[in-house]
């Protein structure tokens, strides 16, 4: 279905998932302005917002099914399989986080149903970010996402850590936005264009000027902040630890995924001509990120902090796929982010159930002996840890294998080796979690008696765990989907790839 993006009706059609979700966010906002007293209202708002995600998924699916593509130039928003795939992934994450939040918020005494519209708006921002075909849309999406998430990070406003997280995230985020905006301005200055395709074409035709190179560098830095790549990662542990746990899951998966989708698109469509310039940058970033993330995670005692550092390390792994700059790389980004997000959402879902109302975050020692009391929860968390570790038989392994393949097929062996060194280090902090839960005895008789695992969250987590195992041994569906031509980014020809 060709869509003319220059006509208003075409634009509406192309933006249908985002528009539906925004409209529904407003509906939910109206509802919560009127009903915001008790747990019942919280639950209703949550259920309503789930409906919004379903609408958006349906709209995305419809566009994908009709084979929507831009007639002529992609103005402002991309219309390709990659956008639909990434939208589906982001919507899935948002829906899962909503399900995890419903009872958790009530239990923690956070009775403010504005949470859900904010989550929806953040999702709209993520979708715009991932689907942008224009530097302005890119920035717009980024800001819509970021501002919503700043608020969400501080949503548990009576807790100091949460407020601290919000402030830190806001300050660093504003800083990152500044970098990105400066980069956009310089790129615009160098080319006079905002549209990805047009800029890409111009760079391909004429060698990029210093201004363009600076612009690219600044844009990369902006993204590096958002995906928490070392050395732009310092905000992540504090923010992840302070934010409400479902929001931590959201930031670790959704925000990171959206930023990676956008970065993949920008690198593939805007700066393919400068591949020789940005590959070394990614190379360095990836190595430092993998090593620092994994090594720092080793010494963490708080589970959320540990997962924060591990998510930094995973950002490093993902850069292998971006470095590859190939169809395999795009497929790897999709599969890895799916595997990572399923695993991380499930892990945070289990951790959220272990958290006691108003208590400090879950420490590693709090998990001791969990298996005896909660065998299924602890088995689930063990499987999550193995999947994050990239253990064969789990989905995480399939993702990691694709990442390594993507880089190795481009003749790059150093990054995969460093990634595997990183994995080897990571066993040092994933294994103790399994060890504490299954092999150590409980500290006290009362341990783990306060765990509340509400049914919706339990079902969502169970589905995630099942998916981790299923796709771990039967990845055909996912792999075939991700390696279709239609979901790939438009990869410009490599000038001289080091084969």
């Amino acid at each position: 279905m060709p869509i003319d993006l220059s006509s208003p009706s075409g634009a509406v059609l192309a933006l249908l998932p985002e528009l539906l979700l925004s409209l529904w966010a407003l509906v939910v906002l109206l509802y919560v302005a009127w009903r915001h007293r008790d747990g019942y209202d919280m639950r209703t708002a949550g259920a309503l917002s789930l409906l919004g995600y379903i609408f958006a998924v349906a709209a995305t699916g419809w566009l994908a099914w009709r084979g929507a593509h831009a007639e002529g130039l992609s103005i402002m928003i991309a219309l390709d399989g990659f956008r639909f795939a990434s939208d589906a992934l982001l919507l899935w994450i948002a829906g899962a986080v909503t399900i995890l939040s419903v009872r958790w918020l009530i239990r923690q005494g956070i009775l403010a149903p504005e949470y859900y519209p904010l989550l929806m708006l953040a999702t709209v921002g993520m979708m715009l970010l991932a689907g942008s075909a224009d530097l302005i849309t890119l920035f717009l999406g980024l800001e819509v996402m970021s501002i919503s998430v700043y608020i969400l990070a501080g949503f548990d406003r009576t807790r100091r850590a949460s407020a601290e997280a919000a402030l830190k995230y806001f300050l660093i985020g504003a800083f990152a936005s500044g970098f990105l905006l400066y980069g956009i301005a310089l790129t615009y200055g160098a080319t006079g264009q905002f549209n990805f395709e047009l800029i890409g074409a111009q760079f391909a035709a004429t060698p990029p000027t210093l201004m363009a190179k600076l612009g690219m560098g600044l844009i990369l830095i902006g993204f590096a902040f958002k995906v928490a790549a070392v050395p732009f990662h310092a905000w992540a542990p504090d923010v992840y630890e302070g934010a409400p746990t479902p929001i931590t899951a959201f930031m670790a998966t959704g925000v990171k995924a959206a930023a990676f989708f956008a970065l993949a698109r920008v690198l593939a469509e805007v700066f393919p001509a400068m591949v020789a310039l940005w590959r070394p940058v990614l190379f360095g970033l990836a190595i430092v990120t993998m090593l620092v993330g994994n090594l720092t995670a080793l010494s963490q005692t708080s589970m959320k902090r540990m997962l924060a550092y591990s998510s930094i390390a995973h950002a490093g792994y993902l850069m292998l796929a971006l470095w590859a700059h190939s169809d395999e790389g795009t497929a790897a980004v999709l599969v890895y982010l799916l595997a990572y997000s399923i695993t991380t959402v499930a892990a945070f879902g289990i951790l959220a159930s272990i958290e006691r109302a108003g208590a400090r975050t879950v420490l590693l020692t709090d998990l001791e002996g969990l298996f005896a009391v909660r065998p299924f929860a602890s088995m689930g968390l063990s499987i999550c840890m193995l999947s994050l570790l990239g253990f064969p038989g789990t989905f995480g392994f399939i993702g990691k294998w694709l990442l390594l393949s993507a880089a190795l097929h481009q003749g790059q062996a150093v990054l995969p080796i460093v990634a595997m060194v990183g994995s080897a280090i990571s066993i040092g902090y994933y294994l103790p979690v399994v060890l504490a839960m299954t092999l150590k005895p409980t500290r006290t008789r009362q341990a783990h008696q306060t765990i509340r695992f509400p049914r919706p969250a339990r079902i969502a987590v169970a589905i995630c765990i099942f998916a981790i195992m299923l796709f771990g041994v039967w990845p055909n569906v996912v792999l075939n989907f991700a390696s279709q031509k239609v979901v790939q980014l438009r990869q410009a020809e490599l000038p001289t790839g080091p084969r």
């Binding site: 193995l386 253990f391 064969p392 038989g393 392994f397 294998w401 390594l404 393949s405 190795l408 097929h409 062996a413 995969p416 080796i417 595997m420 060194v421 994995s423 080897a424 066993i427 040092g428 294994l431 060890l435 299954t438 092999l439 150590k440 990845p475 055909n476 792999l479 075939n480 390696s483």
Partner: protein
Amino acid sequence: MAAFLASIGYAHWVIHVLLALPILAMPVILFAPVKSARYIAFGVALTELVVGIGLWWAFDPTRGGMQFVTDITWVEGFGIGYRVGIDGLSVLMVLLSVIMLPLVVWSSWRGIDQKQRGFYALIMALNTGMLGVFVATDLFLFYMFWELLLIPMYFMIGIWGSSNRLYAATKFVIYTFVGSFMMLVAIIWMVAVVGRATGAYSFAYANLLEHADLLKPWGGWLFTAFALAFAVKVPLFPFHTWLPDAHTEAPTAGSVDLAVILLKMGTYGFLRFAIPFFPQFALSKTVGTVMATLAVIGIIYAALVAMVQPDLKRLIAYSSVSHLGFVMLGIWGSTVESVQGAIMVMVSHGLSTGALFFMVGMLYERRHTRKISDYGGLARVTPLLATAFVITAFSSIGLPGLNGFVGEFLVLIGSFGRYPWLVGIAATVVVFSAGYMLWSTQRVFFNRLTNPLNEGIGDLNLRELAVIVPLIAAMIWIGLYPGPLLRRTAGAAQQYVEMVQSALPKAALPDPGAPR
């Protein structure tokens, strides 16, 4: 027998049944009543044995290459398949695994008194993993089985192990995982290189082996990655420190599985993957000398360390390191005799060390100590156990007439042409191994019965006899008449040696056609 097996289509389903049965039994065991867990496990184990033992007849030693082959596409478009097969290198290992399974289950009958369901379920998972490693002919599948094995072993040591179990379990997993992570990069790298050159991406072992020439430029790196994984598992001398801990802390079943099967996965990996893929590098003068030297250091050093161990299990663990050194020496001797000898050592070490661990487990169940100094004079109260132990100890030392001798002798004569000095040094280990085995036997079973606690120890009961007697019978049989075993490995060893030698420049090796 072969005709009967052919009439039931044995070759078509045997591997699948062997792999699937234990894993399917897992949930049954987990959700069955606690009391029946061990019976189900034993039933499954016996079925595995009955099914698997047919390989002895169905396997055709005169045919080279893989038999019982299955090749089913698993992940289309990525060249991953469920590819399995058995050849002369693996057939004895598979047989050893299925023979050990009922014995392992049976030996745990009394010793495991808590969390039985989990224990037997893990034994089942472990068995699928072990068999999978030996039958996989797809590198993706192989890597999966290889790593998946860690989980049951980890929990087996960590839950049912003795006092220092957490440390041992963690050490085991970290060593093995860290050792093998580079193997994944190497596997993907090989597939990428071969795939780019031939246009077909495939993880099939046969395909990669056929195009092994393409890998020559990176042979050193790739071999190192594989060798690291396998050397940790063997364990070769500087990588062996996880083994005494894991062996000592594991429950009897875990120790036996570790010694009998898991260690052989390392040497099997060298024979199957690391050397055939990169013979030019692996068998070059430098690498060969380094590996053989490490093997010999392991043989001597471990024997010396074993001599001073106060803990019976630790002593046997170090003796394993020493025996596996012989396997490594035989592999790098790369003559038909030495390779056959290596396989024979793998089998006979499995039998004798397995039996030793079983017997130490039986002693432990009676006295709850593994310290040699706590025992003494047991021959008076447990004559059967003492007899069995002495026979096994002799087999472990390598006394002619018992199984240990056959393999070690073949390794020594087979490797002499290539490493005369090293073989000369390695041969002296007979003195040391006699030293630690006989000395410890003397301190446990002979001397005076001074400790009154030892007076009440009962002799072997029927169940325990049923575990030990088959092993002892096998030891004597192999020692007196190794022909059937050698016949089954001869073809594969011959083929292997021809394959790796043809890849080498002439004169790199002495003539393999020494009189046999």
